[in-house]
Amino acid sequence: MDDRHRVTVTVNGAQFQQTVEPRLLLSDFLRHDLGLTGTHVGCEHGVCGACTVLFDGQPVRSCLMFAVQADGHEITTVEGLGTMDQLHPLQEAFRDAHGLQCGFCTPGILLTLIPFLEDNPNPSELEIREAISGNLCRCTGYQHIVDAVQLAAQRTSA
């Protein structure tokens, strides 16, 4: 019972080998074992989207996965997007268009939007709202988030 598992996970380009308990959530692995606290944990049962990370390039809820399920896979967290000196263009647009207030939902929303904008560089407002329908924001009313995405899309295509 409760054998510990050895996992090898690539996070933001760096490879980590850790021994984990089977019940350890991917979100807790990122936050506690690796110290990457940019991944936020909100509802912890797959509703709010705050814990969204990229799993092999696609958004998933890290509170609904075990760390062992990430064995051999590539994870991107918000720490992998930009640096304090050089923000990712999407982060830049969120700052400029006031796409956040308290910021709790922002990492999850950014990571949801990154592959979305790669697939769809010029999305309509409806497509943006559909894309973030799995992420809750209790501050902005979403309007400034939509504005930020449109600003980012505009800048990329310019």
């Binding site: 409760d2 089977p22 049962h45 958004p59 809820r61 075990f66 062992v68 949801t112 894309a131």
Partner: protein, 304 residues
Amino acid sequence: MNKFDILEPRTVSEAVEMLQRHGSAARPLAGGTDLMVAIKLKHLQPRYLINLKCVPDLDGISLHGGGLLIGALTRVADVATSDLVRRQYPMLASAAGELGSVQVRNVATVGGNLCNASPSADTVPALIALGAEARIVGPAGERFVQVESLFCGPGQTTLSQGEVLTHLRLPAPEPGSGGCYLKRGTRKSMDCAVVGVAAWLMSSQPGSVCGDVRIVLGAVAPTPLRAVQAEGSLQGQAMNETLWNQAGMLAASESRPIDDVRGTAAYRREMLRVLVPRAIEKAWSAALAGGWSGLPAGTLVKAK
């Protein structure tokens, strides 16, 4: 969360053997998006999770005798966005695109959506309406059953101890057939269906008469439900709106909904009276258009 171990079978027979050995102490783990919530809420307290993702070849979508073979571990996102599915069975692609959020579709599996046996599961009415068959492997070998007969109650399947759902087989699309899945939720996305309706039908020669038809209702009975009286009222008839409305009334009367947090039984029946005719109309125009052209607009999120 209770303590458990995760076991990693490398073959289907190893998974079957593990499930048999540990009996009710074990649960199969696929995407885990439903299972993990149940474990967190302590609705389930398994001692072993059998991680089916360790078994190769249980995911992917391929052509099979004119139809499609879908591995049970295929992610819902892949079903929603697969060109093969969208071309041949747009109803299934749009139903898969209605499930949860993009983050859930990227992890949840189509086999998991079936085996979780929620009466409101989005992919199930479409699969039943399309005549999908499930391949199940257990201690006694493999067997094939209609997806329709997989369910016996909320959260309950007809799989026995040690059995694993490995694949779904979709029959070759019939020329002149069309389908449509409509979902009514409390919000536009990211919620369980309050009512789901899948309609599939064929136009018979000379064209205005309905041939084979399947109407499947979600979230209005303990299991996904074939509306057999509604089907019977259409078969062999010249199609018109009065007939579709009548089919909606029949479907409402043969449904067995309950009141719950998402809606009342009366509301669900009322929605069947609206959605069943609407789904029939859309399926019928797809059938008359020769097949599988019209994807319901705006239902697909790119989740490549």
